[in-house]
């Protein structure tokens, strides 16, 4: 399990691999928040969940927490690569719907 965070222009890309649980969730929070606070110009966070096979409530909490943080700066959060049960879990928690709205806005 790992969290890789890359800054590209005003976008921060977090790539998560493995299970998104309490441990990975804390790591995601630490890594993303540190970089997000470091660069004031950042206005978009992309969470790449293509290599995530499982997520629990703590993992979902860490994603919602990042959404909250990004929104406080009027930024955007995009989730990419979610599939299978992870996608279902995100859907149940209403996170995909929030991000889908973001995607729509982005499309506009």
């Amino acid at each position: 399990m790992s969290v890789q965070v890359v800054k590209e222009g005003t976008t921060l890309i977090a790539k998560i691999a493995g299970d998104l649980d309490m441990v990975t969730g804390s790591q995601l929070k630490k890594e993303v928040d540190q970089r997000w606070d470091e660069y004031e110009k950042l206005n978009c966070l992309v969470l790449d969940l293509s290599q995530v096979n499982f997520t629990d409530s703590t993992g979902l909490g860490s994603i919602l927490g990042r959404y909250k943080k990004v929104k406080s700066r009027d930024g955007r959060m995009v989730i990419v690569g979610a599939k299978g049960d992870v996608k279902d879990d995100l859907d149940i928690a209403g996170i995909l719907r929030l991000c889908e709205n973001e995607n729509k806005e982005k499309g506009e």
Partner: protein, 769 residues
């Protein structure tokens, strides 16, 4: 029933073969008082008989003595019945001075004795037929007239219908513990009017006794039943007297007495009117005197007639408590509106974000000029002589900043027109970021304002709901009085009693004194059920040292059978899931399940807070949507760190079987009917994450045997690991199961022993009560 004889002789009287013999006569003062009371009662009935024969002679309403005598006789009160007949005989003899009339009366008396001895008044057809035959005979013999057949038939019809009226009236009167129907009230009014009109109408000092009694009837009905019934009584009096001269006064008197119910000292007012009429002289003075006499007698009649007060239907002026309830509702509505306005003020406060957008450039340039160029040698040149050029260059620099141009590029660009390019660019970047920080804080402030606005809006909705509840829970003072009198009759001391109507019937909230240190719950329930004619159940019951609080509602149509089991994640002793089961007032069953973020104590605290607050808000009759919004606000404001909890909220109406479900970020809920399973998924984010929440409430009707299956996400995840099928639970539910317990155990049996996440299975089955 204790007869006069038994009272006279007491229990010490014994019977010998030779007949009745008085062995030990003990005449105590109490017994003497009883004897005196009975003598007075007999004399009263004798007087009634004496007076009412006048009516008998002049109209069909005179059949009262026969009905009254039969009624008394059927109650085995022969002493009074015979007193009445003696009175009637004397009255008739005095009035007609005819041996034939008296003989006919004796024949009626004999009829009464026969009726009483063979089968009583219950056989009303016999009495009516006899009356319709006897009454014309009485007139025929008494007046020695030869009737044509048609007259005889007319009198027969009149006598039988009048008698029917009296019999029905007497039966209604015996049922004093229920609310009469309006037509029953009219029957009673007509019967009472005829009774009063039948009274011996000799003038005493110029005053008509029957008119005094008519006044009494009109005033007492008005005071007991309100203006509408007062006017009705006035109409009856008007018809009976057949005089427009007095008719207007009766109508006016009935209306006035009804209106004056709420005014203390209304009797005094009527006396004043009477005195004025008295002073007017002529016919008015007699009428005024009759009014005064009737008003003076009124308290005695009212005291006796109070038991009928709550049997008279509607048209009663508002009780003071109801007026207070209306005032309270108005105040609550006002309070709710104020809160809503306050909410609008908060949400409508100007957010400076837009202002910043508009003024950002100008402000920034001004700040840069004052900070960076203040001590520059070229300030005069740049800002006075080449103002437009400098302003344009700085605007371009800010545009570069927005398009994320690197610092070095910006410096090289500024180098073309500024003597201190690095210092300028650093200042520009610093001020730009500071403005950005301001923007973040202003956004946070705006968000807080939104939270407060939402809180106020939620509170306004809650308070508004409370105001509406006063409408739904309409007070029912009449039922309260009937129940109170019934409880009093059974020697149950009532400290407080309130009845209110809700959509499924009557709710009774009462506090009763304990008897011999034992609770009277069952006894009270039976009495209230009997008094209201509804099968009532005890919904709330609290026993205190001296009294018990009992809340009764009509019996539910459905009841619920619930199975719940939870298991903490392996390695933890505390389960992070919490559930709430509560039987709310007026037949609502609350079932809630919350999954706190993560596992262990923190998750348990979070989920438990959610479940507790939901129950608290719903107990206060707040609707599900508003309750969840308030819970979200509480969690959002109280959470120092990121945390959330999912919510599954189901409310079942046990009177109708209506199920309403709200889901916030929770695992699907399944509704199973036979082999058919419907899955309900969440459509909103969990509580505690964002300041606003969009709650969707779904409703459906459940039938006997339907199952609602709620699970935490741990169940689905752990089951998926075993079955490798994401729809395993839905497929499993399609099988047949006998009870919620059997189904619950079968689900748990499919899960592995070492579960990473908390597991909760909550199954509810609805069945007929």
């Amino acid at each position: 029933m204790e007869t006069t004889e038994s009272i006279l002789y007491g229990s010490s009287r014994t019977k010998s073969r030779r007949g009745r013999r008085m062995d030990h006569v003990v005449l105590t003062p109490e017994r003497l008082l009883d004897i005196l009371k009975h003598i007075i009662a007999c004399l009263t009935w004798l007087t009634i008989g004496l007076f009412t024969t006048k009516g008998l002679w002049e109209g069909t309403w005179g059949l009262i003595p026969l009905v009254l005598a039969c009624t008394l006789g059927s109650n085995k009160d022969l002493i009074r019945a015979r007193s009445l007949m003696i009175g009637g005989l004397l009255g008739l003899a005095h009035l007609t001075v005819s041996i034939y009339t008296c003989m006919t009366w004796l024949m009626i008396w004999l009829t009464m004795e026969v009726i009483v001895s063979i089968g009583k008044i219950q056989n009303r057809k016999v009495v009516i037929i006899l009356a319709s035959l006897l009454y014309p005979c009485l007139l025929l013999i008494g007046r020695r007239l030869a009737f044509p057949v048609i007259t005889y038939i007319s009198y027969s019809i009149l006598s039988s219908s009048t008698l029917s009226l009296f019999i029905v009236g007497s039966e209604i009167l015996l049922e004093k513990d229920r609310v009469w129907k309006p037509d029953e009230c009219l029957v009673l009014l007509a019967a009472s009017g005829l009774l009063v009109a039948g009274i011996f109408d000799n003038l005493i000092l110029g005053v008509s006794i029957s008119r005094v009694f008519l006044w009494l009837l009109v005033l007492s009905v008005g005071l007991l039943g309100g203006p509408v019934w007062g006017i009705m009584a006035g109409c009856v009096a008007c018809l009976i007297t057949s005089s427009h001269y007095y008719g207007y006064f009766y109508l006016l008197g009935g209306a006035l007495s009804g209106v004056l119910v709420i005014v203390k000292g209304s009797n005094l007012l009527i006396i004043v009117v009477g005195v004025i009429l008295l002073l007017m002289g002529g016919q008015f003075s007699v009428f005024g005197l009759e009014m005064i006499l009737a008003t003076l007698l009124l308290p005695v009649i009212l005291k006796k007639a109070q038991i009928f007060k709550y049997s008279i239907p509607s048209a009663v002026p508002l009780e003071r408590s109801e007026i207070k309830a209306l005032e309270l509702r108005e105040r609550i509505d006002g309070f709710a509106n104020t809160l809503a306005e306050l909410s609008k003020v908060f949400s409508g406060l100007p957010v400076k974000e837009t202002d910043i957008e508009k003024r950002k450039l100008a402000d920034l340039i001004e700040s840069i000029a004052s900070k960076s160029c203040q001590n520059c040698l070229h300030q005069q040149l740049c800002w006075r002589e080449s103002f437009i050029l400098t302003y344009g260059n700085l605007s371009e620099l800010l545009l570069d900043l927005e398009t994320k141009t690197s610092t070095e590029t910006m410096i090289s660009k500024a180098n073309r027109w500024c003597i201190r390019p690095r210092e300028l660019v650093e200042t520009v970047i610093y001020l730009w970021e500071r403005k950005g920080q301001d923007l973040v804080w202003q956004k946070r402030l705006a968000e807080s304002k939104n939270v407060v606005a939402n809180q106020l809006s939620g509170l306004a909705a809650v308070v508004g709901d409370l105001g509406c509840q006063l409408d739904i829970l309409e007070r029912d003072q009449r039922s309260a009085d009937i129940i109170a009198s019934e409880l009093k009759r059974k020697n149950i001391m009532v400290e407080s009693l309130e009845c209110s109507r809700f959509e499924h019937g009557l709710a009774v909230c009462l506090t009763v004194k304990r008897r011999n240190n034992s609770c009277l719950e069952n006894e009270v329930r039976n009495i209230v059920s009997r008094a209201t004619g509804t099968n009532m159940i005890v919904e709330r019951h609290t026993c205190r040292e001296e009294a018990c609080d009992i809340y009764l509602v009509p019996k539910y149509l459905y009841e619920v059978d619930i199975f719940v089991k939870r298991k903490p994640a392996t390695g933890y002793t505390l389960c992070g899931d919490s559930f709430g089961l509560a039987s709310l007032l007026r037949g609502r069953q609350l079932i809630s399940l919350s999954d706190g973020m993560g596992v262990g104590p923190e998750a348990a605290l979070q989920s438990n807070t959610v479940v507790t607050f939901i129950e608290k808000f719903l107990s206060l009759n707040v609707c599900s949507k508003e309750a969840l919004k308030l819970v979200n606000s509480v969690c959002f404001l109280s959470a120092e760190r990121e945390s959330f909890a999912t919510v599954d909220l189901a409310l079942i109406d046990k009177y109708t079987g209506e199920l309403s479900i709200c889901k916030l970020g929770s695992a699907p809920t399944f509704v199973k009917r036979g082999k058919r399973v419907v899955s309900l998924s969440s459509e909103a984010i969990p509580v505690g994450m964002l300041s606003t929440l969009n709650v969707i409430e779904r409703k459906c009707f459940l039938y006997q045997g339907d199952l609602i299956v709620m699970v935490s996400d741990g169940v689905l995840i752990e089951g998926h690991k075993v079955t490798s099928d994401s729809n395993w639970l839905e497929k499993h539910l399609e099988r047949n199961f006998g009870s919620p317990q059997e189904l619950g155990e079968s689900i748990l049996a499919m899960l592995p022993d070492d579960n990473k996440d908390d597991i909760t299975v909550l199954i509810t089955q609805i069945k007929l009560a």
